[in-house]
C-alpha cells in the first residue's frame, strides 16, 4: 500500500507538469444538425473540448484579437494589448515573438505557407509584412491611387494574402469592400473586392420617393456593411463573414468577387471569423461561441457550442475573435474575453463524416457509402448523410434505395431523378399489361352500351334515370353546366330557381376536401408542407373565413350599389364558381403523384387553368347576378376589396382592445393574489 501511495504521489506531481490528456464528459453544449426540411435536431457531439491555451510560454494574453495557423503548426496570435504577434506551437509553448516596437495595435494576422507573416495594424494605419525571422520586409500604407479616395482613411483590421502576394484587407470604416493590394511598386491598389450590397424593402423605397432631401438626410443611412472577417483557402478563394447580413452573412468569393454560395437559413447571428478545413469544409465561429460547420456548398453539417454566461465550463466561450483548424481537424477558437484559445477535438463520429465528405467530393460515391453507413448507424436522420448515400445509390443504379434516401433527406432533385428511373422500369415491365387492361375496359364499355341498347338492363337503366332526376342530383349536375355557361347559369340561378343551398354547400365541402387532399397528398415533389404535419382546423377555417367574409362584404357592397343579387343567390352562384376546381383538381392530384420534375409543367398548367377559369366565373357571376355593366362590376370589386380592408382593420382593433382588457384582469388578479399573500 505504501508503495502504491508513493507512486500515486509521484503520479500526481507528474500530472501537475503535463497538459491534460483525457477530457471525457458530457460536453457542456449540444450539437445540432438539420434535416431536409431544415428541421433542427440534435446529434452526437461533433467536437469535444480538448484543452485550452491560456498563455504563450510565460506570457499571458492581454487583448488577443486575431490568430492564424501556419502549415508547420505554429499559431500566430495578434495581441493588440501586447502590441506584438505571439508565436507558439499547438501545445502553447513559445516559439517566438514578432513586431515589438514596430506594431501599434495589431488586429489582424495572416501567415502564408512559407511563413511570411502579414499583419494589419489598425492604429498604425499600415500593413506590415515580416519574414520568418521576424524582420520587416515590406510596409504598406494608405494606397495613393485616386480610386481609393483621398478622404478615405486606411485602417486595416483583418488581412489575408494569396500565393502571389496579393493582399485582401478589411479596413475599418471602409464600406466599399475589401481592399485589394498588389505587392508590386510598394503596394498598388487593385480595387475593391466582394462589395456587399444593400437592399431596400418596398416601404423604404416608398419612403425615399416621398421624403424631401432634408428628411431623407435624417434617416439612418443605408450603407452596406463591412465584412467582419475573411479567410482564404488553398485555391485562392476568399471567404467572408458579415454581421447583420443574415442569410448572406457567409460568402465564398471567386476571383471575380462573386459569391458562389446560395443563401443559407442557418447562419450565425454574429459571425466573427471563418476558416476552411482539409475537406473544403467551411467553419464559421460566432462571436457568442457557436461553431458552424458547412460542407463546400455551404450546407450546414453541425452547429455546436454556446455562451458561457457564468456556467464556467470547458468549451463554452464568451467572445470569439478568430478560428483555425489544424491538420488533425482540431478546432481553435480565440476568446478575447476569457483570454484563451479553446481547443476542440473531433469525435469518432465527426471523423467518419469528414472521411465521407472527402470521398464524396472526389466523386468516389461507392467508397463514400461505407463511412456514410457508419454515420447513419450512429444517426439515421443525419440529413447530409442521407442525401449523399441516396446519390451514391443512384450512381450505382439502385434506384429504389436512392428513392428511399432521397425522400428521407428531402433531396427533391435526387428524388425526381430516382423516381424517373423507377417509373421507367415500372412502365417497361407493365406497359403490355396496362395496354391490355385499357383495351379490355374499352371492350367492356362497348359491350355494356350494346346490351343497354338492346334493353337488357332496363331495370338498372331506369333506376339510373330516376336517380338522375332527383332534385339534388340534378342541381349538382347543374354545376357542370354552370362552369361552361356562366351567363346562362347565373340567369338560371336567379330566374329559374336553380339556387339550391344544399347543393352549393356540397360543392363548398367538396372544394374544402379536395383542397386539403391537394395540400397533403399532391405527390412528394409538389408538396410544400412537411410530411406528417397536419393542421386541418386552420385549413378549413381559412377557406370558410375567406369565402363567407368575401360574400358578406360583397353583399354589403352590392346592396348599396343597385345590385340585384340576394345573399342566397350570391352564395349559390359563388359556390358554383368553384366547380372547375372540384372537377379538374382531382386529376391534377392523381397525375402529380406519378410525375417527376421533367413533367411538372403539366400540373402547373392545370393549376393555371383552374385559377383563370374560377376568376372568370367569379367576375361573370358578380356581373350577371347583380345585372351590372362591366364598369359597375369593376367598381364593385374595388369597393369590396376596400370593405375587406376596413373589416380586417376593425377586427384587429377589437382584438387589441380585448387583449388589453384580459391583460388588465390578469394584472388585477395578480395584485389581489399578492395582497392576499401578504
Amino acid at each position: 500500500m505504501k508503495k502504491l501511495a508513493k507512486i500515486l504521489v509521484t503520479a500526481l506531481v507528474l500530472i501537475f507538469l503535463t497538459t491534460p490528456v483525457i477530457v471525457n464528459a458530457e460536453t457542456p453544449y449540444k450539437t445540432y444538425t438539420v434535416d431536409g426540411y431544415g428541421y433542427v435536431m440534435e446529434t452526437q457531439t461533433a467536437y469535444t473540448p480538448y484543452s485550452a491555451i491560456t498563455k504563450v510560454g510565460e506570457t499571458s494574453f492581454i487583448t488577443p484579437v486575431d490568430m492564424s495557423l501556419s502549415k508547420s503548426g505554429n499559431l500566430y496570435i495578434a495581441d493588440s494589448g501586447a502590441k506584438a504577434i505571439l508565436v507558439c506551437n499547438l501545445a502553447g509553448e513559445e516559439v517566438g515573438r514578432i513586431g515589438d516596437g514596430i506594431l501599434v495595435a495589431p488586429t489582424g494576422v495572416y501567415v502564408t505557407e512559407d511563413e511570411t507573416i502579414y499583419v494589419a495594424d489598425k492604429d498604425a494605419g499600415k500593413v506590415f509584412v515580416f519574414n520568418k525571422d521576424g524582420e520587416v520586409i515590406h510596409e504598406y500604407g494608405k494606397p495613393s491611387s485616386p480610386i481609393y479616395g483621398d478622404a478615405m482613411a486606411f485602417k486595416p483590421i483583418k488581412i489575408v494574402a494569396n500565393s502571389s502576394g496579393t493582399m485582401y484587407i478589411i479596413c475599418e470604416g471602409n464600406m466599399n469592400g475589401i481592399v485589394q493590394l498588389s505587392p508590386v511598386e510598394g503596394g498598388s491598389f487593385l480595387g475593391y473586392f466582394g462589395t456587399n450590397y444593400t437592399s431596400l424593402n418596398p416601404f423604404e423605397i416608398l419612403q425615399r420617393m416621398i421624403l424631401t432631401d432634408a428628411q431623407r438626410a435624417k434617416l439612418l443611412s443605408n450603407i452596406p456593411s463591412t465584412p467582419t472577417n475573411l479567410a482564404i483557402d488553398d485555391d485562392g478563394l476568399i471567404y467572408t463573414v458579415t454581421q447583420g447580413d443574415d442569410s448572406l452573412s457567409l460568402k465564398k468569393l471567386n476571383i471575380a468577387g462573386n459569391n458562389m454560395l446560395t443563401s443559407d437559413p442557418y447562419y450565425a447571428d454574429l459571425p466573427a471569423a471563418v476558416t476552411t478545413g482539409k475537406y473544403n469544409n467551411i467553419l464559421v465561429a460566432d462571436s457568442d461561441g457557436y461553431i458552424y460547420e458547412y460542407n463546400e456548398e455551404g450546407e450546414l453539417l453541425f452547429m455546436l457550442g454556446g455562451r458561457d454566461d457564468g456556467r464556467q465550463r470547458i468549451g463554452l466561450c464568451n467572445k470569439v475573435e478568430a478560428i483555425a483548424v489544424d491538420d488533425n481537424d482540431r478546432v481553435y477558437l480565440l476568446d478575447s474575453d476569457k483570454k484563451q484559445i479553446h481547443v476542440f477535438e473531433p469525435t469518432e463520429f465527426t471523423n467518419l463524416l469528414h472521411e465521407s465528405l472527402e470521398l464524396y467530393a472526389k466523386g468516389s460515391y461507392t467508397q463514400s457509402k461505407e463511412p456514410l453507413t457508419e454515420v447513419l448507424k450512429m444517426n439515421s436522420l443525419f440529413d447530409y448523410a442521407n442525401k449523399a448515400i441516396g446519390r451514391a445509390y443512384y450512381q450505382e443504379e439502385n434506384y429504389k434505395e436512392a428513392l428511399k434516401y432521397a425522400r428521407l433527406s428531402k433531396d427533391f432533385d435526387g428524388y425526381s431523378n430516382a423516381f424517373w428511373e423507377v417509373r421507367n422500369v415500372w412502365i417497361r415491365s407493365n406497359l403490355v399489361k396496362a395496354v391490355g387492361i385499357i383495351i379490355l375496359i374499352i371492350i367492356l364499355i362497348k359491350i355494356w352500351k350494346m346490351l343497354v341498347k338492346k334493353g337488357k338492363f332496363g331495370n338498372i337503366v331506369s333506376k339510373y334515370e330516376k336517380f338522375k332526376n332527383i332534385k339534388l342530383v340534378d342541381r349538382l349536375k347543374y354545376s357542370k353546366f354552370f362552369m361552361r355557361h356562366p351567363i346562362d347559369g347565373c340567369y338560371a340561378v336567379k330566374r329559374e330557381g336553380k339556387n339550391s343551398v344544399l347543393c352549393a354547400t356540397i360543392i363548398l365541402v367538396l372544394f374544402i376536401i379536395i383542397s386539403i387532399i391537394g395540400k397533403y397528398y399532391p405527390g412528394f415533389l409538389l408538396k410544400t408542407v412537411r410530411e406528417g404535419r397536419y393542421d386541418l382546423v386552420t385549413d378549413i377555417g381559412k377557406v370558410l373565413v375567406i369565402f363567407f367574409g368575401l360574400i358578406a362584404c360583397n353583399y354589403l357592397v352590392v346592396t348599396i350599389n343597385d345590385g340585384e343579387g340576394s345573399i342566397k343567390e350570391l352564395y349559390c352562384a359563388y359556390a358554383y364558381c368553384l366547380s372547375p376546381y372540384v372537377f379538374i383538381k382531382p386529376i391534377c392530384i392523381l397525375v402529380g403523384n406519378v410525375l417527376t420534375y421533367n413533367e411538372v409543367f403539366i400540373i402547373q398548367f392545370g393549376n393555371l387553368c383552374i385559377t383563370v377559369w374560377v376568376v372568370v366565373l367569379l367576375f361573370l357571376t358578380l356581373k350577371e347576378i347583380n345585372n351590372y355593366s362591366v364598369k359597375e362590376t369593376i367598381k364593385a370589386i374595388f369597393i369590396t376589396a376596400f370593405t375587406v380592408l376596413i373589416m380586417a382593420l376593425l377586427i384587429s382593433i377589437l382584438y387589441v382592445l380585448c387583449s388589453q382588457v384580459i391583460d388588465f384582469v390578469i394584472t388585477v388578479v395578480r395584485e389581489v393574489v399578492y395582497r392576499i399573500g401578504n
Binding site: 445540432y32 452526437q44 485550452a52 454556446g306 464556467q312 470547458i314 439515421s380 428521407l408 388578479v669 393574489v673
Partner: protein
Amino acid sequence: MATKNVKNRKKLIIAIICVMIVVVLVITGVNVAGGHISNTNITYAEAATITPPQAELSSDKTQNKEEIKGHKLVAANDNYELYLKEDTLSIIVRDVKTGEIMESVVDDATELQNVNDTWKSFLQSGVVVEVQEDTNTMQKKAGVNNASVNVTYVDGGFKAKIDYPNYKFGFELEVLLYDDGSITAYIPESSIYEESDKVKIGNIYVFPMLGNTCLDEKEGYMFVPDGNGALIYLDDKEGRFDSGYTQRVYGSDIGIGESYVLSLLWDKYETHNDSENVLAPIFGMVYTDAKLGYLAVIEAGAEEATIMATPNGAYTDYNWITSSFRKSATYIQPTSNSGGSVTKVTDRIQYDIKIRYMFVNGDKANYTGLAEKYRDYLIEKGELQEKEDSFNIRLDFLGSDVENWLLSKKSVAMTTTDNIRDIYKELQSEGVNNIFSLYKGWQDGGIYDIPVTKVDTEGSIGSKSDLKKLAKDAKDMGIDFYLYTDGLRANPDTGNTTFNTVKKMDKRLYTESTYKSVYEKMVYWTPDKSVFNVNQLKDSMLDNGLNNLALSGISNTLFTYTISDTMKTRLTTEYIYKNMYENLDKDMNLVLCEPISEYWKYTDAFVDMPVSDSDFIYTDKSIPFLSIVLKGMVPMYSDYINFEANEREYFLKLVETGIYPSYYLTYEDSSKLIYTNSSDIYTSKYSTYKDRIIDTYNELKAIDDKTSGAYIVNHEILDNGVVAVTYDNGVRILVNYSDKEQTAYGETVDAMSYKVGEVQ
C-alpha cells in the same frame, strides 16, 4: 328604461366580481372543486432524523498540552486532537502521529493585508453568516468578529453560543470529536433565534476555511461531488479563475428561482447541456504530501446546502472548500404582466445543520481512501445495503410516443411487446444472457402521457395481457424487466393538472419547457400527488402480477413549493418521497434513475450513473468517486451508449469505472420519432446495434467475471494516460486512453485499450 339599465349594470358588476373571486380562489389554491388530495404537514424535526453516531466520544485530554497558534486542546483520541481558539471559533485538527495540522482560519497577517474587510472577516472566522437585510438581494458576510461568542466545554468538544447583537439573531454551534476520527459540527434549529423583522439569517457557513491552503503551499486536492467525482488540485492557478465551483446539493431549486441567463440559438434551441447534479452531500480536502485529509458528509441540512470549492485566485489567494446552508432566500413576486414585481424574502427555512468531517491519514489520505470511508459510513448508517450485483447489459426499450395527426394525436409504435420478446430470444441465442431492461412508453398514450396510474398499455404495442405475458417470459428467461415511468411530471395536454401541481414561492405554476413540438410544456406534481399516483400504479401493477417498477423524476428532484400560501421545503419533499420508497420497496422490486444518496438503499440498481464530471473550468481531474463507493455494492448502469460520439473512449470509461453498459433501443427506425417529443432519440434501431451489443456484452462480461462482487481499493491516474484500478481480490485493470502503446506496472497496454491482470 333607465332603471332597467342600472339594474343590468349592477348584475353585470356582480357577475364580474363573482368570476374574479372564483379565479382568485382557484389561483390561491383554496379548495373550491374536487381533485385535491390532502397534503402532508410535518415539522422539520419529523422530516429529518439524524441517526446518532456509532462511535464513542473522544475523552478530554486537555491537561498539559501546548497551545498551537493560540489554540487550546479541547479533545483528543489516539489519532487526532482538536484545538480551539475561542474568540474566532477557529479549530485546528492535528494528526497525533505525524503532527500535521489542518486549520480552519487564515492567520497570516502579511497575506491578509491585501484582502478587503469582508473577505478578511470571512477568512478569519470559524462561522460566517450571510445577513439578509430587508429585501436586499446582496447579502453581507458577517464573521465571528461581529458577534459575541460564549464557549462552554463538553465531553469530546465544545459548545459555542454565537450572538450577533447588531442583527439581533444568533444560534449555537456544537463541535465534537469521536474516536473513529470524525468531527461533527452541529447547529440545531431550536437554538436559532431572529428577533428583527427586517434582518434575517441568509446563509450560514460552518468552518468555511477548514483545511485551507495558500496558493501552492501544499500538495493535494479538493474533492467535489460533481458527476461521478472531480478533483481541484491545490496548485497555483495563476489567477485564471474569478469564481469557483458552486453547486446546490441534489440539484437546483425550481421553487425559488435561481436566475440564470438563457441564451437560445436562433431564439429557439437550448444549446447547453446541464451540468451534473450533486448526488451525494459530500466534499473533501486532502494534503497528499502531509498525508492528512478529510471527507465531509452533510448529515443534516443537505437539501438546503450548496457546496463551494474555491481555488486560489478567485476572491483571495486561498484554496478552500465548504458548504453554505440556506436559511432564507429572496425571490421575485411579479405583480403585473408587464414586468412589475417586488422582491420578497422567504420565512426561515427550518432544519438542523450537521456536518461530519471524517479524517483520513497515512496511506488512506487520498480520494480512494475518502471513497472507502464514505462506503463504510453508508453501510454503518444503513444507508447502503449490499444488493445482488451481477453483470447485466441494460437494454431499455421505447414502446411508443405520439405525433400530431389531424385533429388529435397518433400513436407511433416503436417497440411492441412481441418485438422485445424476439429481441431477447435472439440475443440469448447469441450468448447475451444477463439483461436488465426498462420498458419506457408502454402506457396508453405513449411515453409522455403522464402520470401513469394504472396498467393500461398503448394498443399499438400490445394488450395488457401481452405485457403481462412478456413480463412473465422475461422472468423465465432470467431477465430483469422493469416498467418505467416518470413520477414527477404531469402533462397538461393529456390530463387535468389544475390541482396538486407545484407552485413556486411566487405562487405561480411551475412549467418546464420541453423545447419539442407535440407537448411543449410539462408541470410537476406536488410530492403528495406523486405518491398518490405511484401508489395507484403500484396497486394496479400488483393486481396484474407485475412487480418491477422503475421511477425517474422523483428520484433526484427536490424543490421548494407553496400550498395555500404555506412554504414547503425541499426537506419536506424529500421526506414524502422517502416514505413512499420505504413502503414501495417492501412490495416491489424498485429501480431509481440517478437517485440522490438519500434513496440509495431503496433501489435495486443505480441507473444512469454518470461516468465522468461536468468539465468545469476549475476542476482538474475527473475521478470515479461514486463508482469506487458503490462498486460491488449496487449494480450501476451507464447513460445510453447510442448517443456517444466517442464510442471507444466511452467503452474504456466503463472498463475503468465498473459501470455496466446501457443502450436505448427501438425495433423500428428512429426516424419515425422525428415529429414526436422523443425527437432527440436520433439513433436507436435494434438491428443496427445488435452486433455492438453482443461485442460489448462479451468483452465487459469477461472483465466482470474477474471483478464480480469485489470492491475497488485503489485508483490511480498515471502520467502516461494510463489508469490503474485495483480490486480487493487482487485484480488490477490497466486502461490506456492515450493514442500510443504505453507501459505501466511492467505491462504493455495497446493504444485505446485495456489489460486485466493480477497484483504481483
